[in-house]
């Protein structure tokens, strides 16, 4: 039954290809139906595609981790589909395909299938990254994605040679001991490019600054969450945290250099792109601290970051000048940026505090020092933009007025950020479930291989 989550958007996409423009109206309907189906499904079930049991056929795993990640991704897509202003002509079909592929990435229990869905997400992302002004950025992203896809494929093949089958649970149980380093390295390269780790994520600023408002919003929130989930699924459940110390170092590098590079940007979207790189680095290094708590707080921080980024990117992409005429956008922009920095009344503060406390309890003094240093820099450039946009005297050339539904969504997310700041257990419970699903790999293996 969980296959429906992938099939319905795909079917809608296929049917609406001849009349692309009208797809804009059915996009919200499709997302709502997938959400309803998701709510009807019970969290731990495994569906074998085509009736072939686990190590032989492809298996879709719906445990507590993938259930809540799907919930988050579909809600993000719902919010975006409710804002037709930012979706250009004909791109709704691409969004439908992207929704199908992100759901597929979360659900799949087979390494080659995850490669295929990763490629679908990548191809959809290249199309979204392209806009009149930015063909070169999209091309660079395509080359980088192509190469990383090839390495990911190599990793999958080595895993197949090592275990005899392509199933995640099978790989995690009986991969021959020599294969793990090489497979982990290649998969790390494959996912590293998408999850914005320092040296590999060269594409991020050019693609996020593609001129069309859709690109940063969907890539920065929905796709980032899916990739982070995939990272967690592979490196924790399948590899039992084997490669995480390397990822920790790369994460720290990403935070510091991401923030520094953001310091000199003179375009808001580029600065926010670097901020999302740094936040992704922070999430990755928190997760790679290892242990149930670390993963829980890592995903909690990711949830906060996603909600703040959603607001920031929408505003940065649509109107990037003074807020005097659209106040609601201005207020939600400030709230999101304060939550990003970690001022007390907002969500970001909670997750940063918990991450610091966790790092100290693991006697790791490097991560807090880096996090605090990065927050100082982040405070500098985010607040610079905040002030610039609130107090900019230039009467913006196009008096762009944000339409009411975009304002409404901005307000809802901003109030959610404040609500989480005061009562964090809504996000915490979600993060806890995701951490549960990812860490007890014994349940995962018995669920997939044992039961049929």
């Amino acid at each position: 039954m969980s296959a429906l989550l992938i099939i319905i958007p795909l079917l809608a996409g296929f049917l609406f290809i001849p009349f692309k423009e009208k797809a804009k109206y059915i996009l919200p309907l499709v997302v709502i139906t997938t959400l309803i189906i998701l709510l009807l499904l019970s969290p731990d079930q495994t569906n074998a595609m085509g009736g072939w049991k686990a190590p032989f056929g492809i298996v879709l795993v719906l445990d507590s981790a993938s259930y809540y990640s799907l919930l988050v991704v579909n809600i993000v897509f719902l919010l975006i589909s409710l804002m037709p202003q930012i979706v250009e002509k004909g791109y709704s079909v691409v969004l439908l395909i992207l929704l199908a592929s992100t759901n597929g990435l979360v659900l799949t229990g087979d390494i080659f299938n995850s490669f295929v869905f990763l490629e679908i997400t990548a191809v959809a992302a290249y199309i979204i990254a392209f806009s009149r002004k930015n063909p070169y950025g999209a091309f660079k992203y395509l080359i980088l994605g192509g190469i990383s896809g090839a390495f990911y494929l190599l990793g999958a093949i080595y895993a197949y040679i090592g275990t005899g089958s392509l199933n995640f649970a099978d790989i995690s149980v009986n991969i021959k001991e020599g294969f793990l380093p090489i497979v982990a390295l290649l998969i790390f390269i494959g996912i590293g490019v998408e999850s914005k780790i320092f040296p590999l994520a060269g594409w991020v600023p050019d693609v996020y600054d593609s001129g069309s408002p859709l690109t940063p919003v969907i890539l920065g929130t929905g796709v980032t969450f899916t990739i982070m989930y995939l990272f967690g699924r592979i490196f924790i459940t399948v590899f039992h945290g084997y490669f995480l110390d390397v990822v920790f170092i790369f994460g720290l590098l990403t935070i510091v250099l991401g923030e520094l590079a953001a310091l000199r940007q003179n375009k808001l979207i580029k600065a926010l792109a670097f901020s999302s790189i740094a936040q992704a680095g922070l999430v990755l290094s928190t997760i790679s601290l290892g242990g149930y708590e670390a993963i829980k707080f890592g995903y909690f921080h990711l949830l906060n970051d996603i909600s703040a980024k959603l607001v920031l990117f929408i505003i940065a992409a649509t109107i990037a000048h003074n807020f005097t005429e659209n106040k609601i956008a201005g207020v939600s922009f400030s709230i999101a940026s304060f939550s990003l920095i970690g001022f007390p009344l907002f969500a970001g503060f909670r997750s940063k505090l918990l991450i610091l406390q966790l790092a100290f309890s693991k006697d790791n003094y490097l991560l807090p020092a880096v996090v605090l240093f990065a927050t100082v820099i982040e405070a500098a450039y985010i607040l610079k933009w905040n002030i610039k946009l609130w107090h900019s005297t230039n009467t913006g050339e196009e008096k762009q007025k944000i339409s009411w539904n975009v304002n409404l969504i901005l307000l809802i997310v901003a109030l959610l950020i404040i609500f989480i700041g005061i009562f964090p257990d809504l996000y915490l419970k979600m993060a806890q479930n995701i951490a549960d699903g990812l860490t007890n790999y014994r349940a995962y293996v018995t669920n997939v291989l044992g039961g049929m």
Binding site: F112, V116, E119, V123, Y126, I127, F130, K133, P135, Y136, A138, F139, L142, I143, G145, G146, I147, G149, A150, L153, L154, A156, I157, Y160, I161, L166
Partner: protein, 113 residues
């Protein structure tokens, strides 16, 4: 033996990336890398003295090579084609905008903006 050919081909593809200036050559190197990976996957399935995995008059009983890599390659090739097609169309747009496909000239043009 074929593994060495596959690895050397990957090396050639990467070398193509590192040294070429023209963007279209990057696309070609990407295809080289893809084909090299496909060759490597196929070579992993070959078993000495066994036939192609098809039941037919000539090979009625199962005496076959490993069919799974061949199935995976089928998919990998099509993905390569998809990316290539999209890359080619993007290159058309890049050429339209910058008037050249040379990396340095594009960099100088972008610096002017």
């Amino acid at each position: 033996m074929v593994y060495y050919i596959a690895f050397i081909l990957i090396g050639v593809g990467i070398y193509g990336f590192l040294t070429q200036k023209n963007l279209f050559k990057h696309l070609v190197s990407l295809t080289i890398v893809d084909t090299a990976v496909n060759i490597f996957i196929i070579s992993l399935g070959y078993i000495e003295g066994k036939e192609a995995p098809i039941y037919s008059k000539y090979t009625p009983i199962a005496n076959f090579v490993d069919p799974l890599p061949q199935a995976l390659v089928l998919t990998a090739i099509v993905i390569g084609v998809g990316t290539l097609a999209l890359g080619a169309s993007l290159l058309i747009k890049v050429y339209e905008k910058y008037g050249t496909l040379d990396v340095e000239q594009i960099a100088t043009k972008e610096a002017e903006e």
